[in-house]
Symmetry: C2
Subunit: 225 residues, 2 copies
């Protein structure tokens, strides 16, 4: 028997994985970035085939990883996690460094970055695992802690986008509790749920300048569901 | 340029990955366990080819994952992380459940477990990535938090064993600091370093019943290096 809630005990960080070059770059929010060998240092990332960045990594064979910190701006999650780069440039206005390979590296809100050359790719179904050999790595902002997925969920109240390997269809969750009679609101931009049952402040009492903690959308962008 | 310290900003959990059956079982401490697809739910684990468990997973094509918590006993790390199961039974005396596939699942000191059937394996050099489809998952001890690798390093002062994908050869670390004149001690069992330069209490002032925070070895099992 599978209790899907057990899956949320697996620890992850949160990262921006980017690829491309000076003319065209794109990236997405990833939770699956992990070292697979020490000699030589190689990293695996797991990317949904529907992500625009997936096409770019396949074309360029390089990727960068920015390790996001706990105070990462909501707009970073909104732009990189919930919008596609097919129709706008996600890197516009950000502090970008170009790596040895020419790959763009986002320096904003990150404690460190890695740059990798793809040496293997593995089709695992809906996603591709890219294995990259480490070409460069630097520490950036040592005043902040790397954000974990648990912190993002519990403190930032963030949800996994549908393309994430860890997306949970809530209908699968074990629950014998009856729904409580309180209101639930959903962000039309990113799908973030504000549930009066679990929040300290009812949605209607939030100040007018309150914004979605995930994507930065305004209060009026939430619909009651 | 590669600053190897940047690699320690990547977040991981800590897990026991086990395989085998009722007659013969074994496991190791892993930090690389991560979900790679949601539909169907599949997990990747990364296992050193020198690990005895690697042979058993290849033979049985099933593995279990126990998600360790913050209060995991030092002996668990010592037995599963620093000793080989070739000459003793690591599962002896532990609370073991056998999964649907017959694979042993360690229930001690774990907040949840997963059971997976291997559907792909990928040679990435020194390690093999096993991709497993989820067959079972349960929550266990909800009173404890899953341990992260950062917590293990910073709070428990743990080090990566040489077989870990994240093992760091300390000679590679960037350091312009001159060594300080204080003593450094090494555990003969697991290699854990107690460095008076960074600890609050000098080694010689530790109580006699102090034990290695990683493997549970006694104070007298430390040598000055």
């Amino acid at each position: 028997m599978i209790n899907f809630e057990a899956l949320s005990t697996i620890s992850y960080g949160l990262f921006l994985v980017c690829s491309g070059d000076e003319n065209k770059g794109n990236g997405y929010v990833a939770n699956t970035v992990f070292q697979v060998t020490a000699e030589p240092a190689k990293f695996a990332i797991c990317c949904n085939k529907d992500n625009y960045t997936c096409d770019i990594i396949q074309e360029k064979a390089y990727f960068s990883v920015s390790v996001l910190h706990q105070n990462t701006a909501a707009e970073i999650y909104g732009n990189f996690g919930y919008r596609t780069g097919k129709d706008f440039n996600k890197l516009d206005g950000l502090d970008i460094k170009y790596g040895i390979s020419g790959v763009p590296i986002v320096l904003n809100d990150s404690v460190a970055y890695l740059e990798c050359k793809v040496v293997q790719q593995v089709d695992v179904g809906t996603h591709i695992l890219f294995i990259g050999e480490l070409m460069g790595a630097q520490l950036l902002d040592e005043g902040n802690e790397p954000i974990t997925y648990a912190y993002y969920r519990e403190i930032k109240k963030g949800l996994a986008p549908k393309n994430a390997p860890t997306y949970i269809d809530k209908s699968k969750l074990d629950s014998t509790e009856k729904p409580k009679k309180a209101s639930i609101y959903k962000c039309v931009v990113c799908g973030h749920i504000y549930d009066d049952n679990i929040e300290d402040i009812p949605f209607r009492d939030l100040p007018d300048d309150w914004v979605c903690p995930i994507c930065g959308a305004e209060k009026e962008d939430f619909n009651k569901i």
